[in-house]
Amino acid sequence: MFDYYANPARFMKLSGVLLPWVSGLTVILFAVGLYWGLFIAPADYQQGETVRIMFIHVPAAWMATFVYGYIAFASAVSLIFKHPLADVAAKSAAPIGAAFAFLALMTGMIWGKPMWGAWWVWDARLTSVLVLFLLYMGYMALWQMIEEPIQAGRAAAILGLVGAINIPIIKFSVDWWNTLHQPASIVKGGGPAIHSSILVPLLIMIGAYMVLFTALILAAMRAEILRRRVRNMRLAQAEGGYHG
């Protein structure tokens, strides 16, 4: 069984080494991906230039779900192995995942406007991302409400798992709800058979977002570990406060 206060020192050392490299890689990938997507890739015959928004919408939507999966995995590890680093990982990932979900919604709306004339259309995919965004809000609020980190970690782990189990159910019900109501909008272009000239920059951009996530999660976990250490020291200061 892991010693309950597993050794974050090793993680701190490791993340300290990794962080600069990962950040460098993020910058490179973004440079290549953006240049390729904005200037080299051809415009879509149907949507014209606006298809370029796909290069930041699809990665954001993908990351929103990926990060929640990451939180669910970390929650499972935290509950089964009682590993406190898993709590730290899950807590640090939530704001990043929420930001990606928010971006997916924003870029989705901006992409949709020229097509459907309305900023927000209750399209199945956008609605599921919206519900996912609400899940993130609830998850982060739960972390904030409970004072003691270990207890908060356990509660958040349970919510994380329950949320993850519900995501496919939500996805299915929203899709069903969408077809039921015969949406006024045409189905967005860019189906699975994307032409390779667009697919490659898209994959690069997804890679860039993944590496960015890695850099952000490492930094956020370091901050969270320090925050817990500060808290412990303050408690120690209060407890050891009988001198004088």
């Binding site: 050794n7 704001p95 930001a99 960015l212 952000l216 370091r222 320090l226 925050r227």
Partner: protein, 58 residues
């Protein structure tokens, strides 16, 4: 860029804003926690046993 240029730049602008903002938020939080920790350590406060284990467990 065609007549939809405005939308494209809006989308990229929002993405840049949020991603850079997020990076800055996490980076400044890291700096703040480090500063708080240094200030507490300078005060030479006794570490709680469990906190000490947090640092040099096997």
């Amino acid at each position: 860029m065609g007549k939809y240029a405005y939308f494209i730049w809006a989308a990229y602008g929002v993405s840049a804003l949020v991603l850079i903002g997020l990076t800055f938020y996490i980076w400044s939080d890291l700096k703040r926690q480090a500063r708080l920790l240094r200030r507490l350590q300078d005060k030479g406060t006794p570490k709680r046993p469990s906190a000490r284990a947090m640092d040099n467990a096997p």
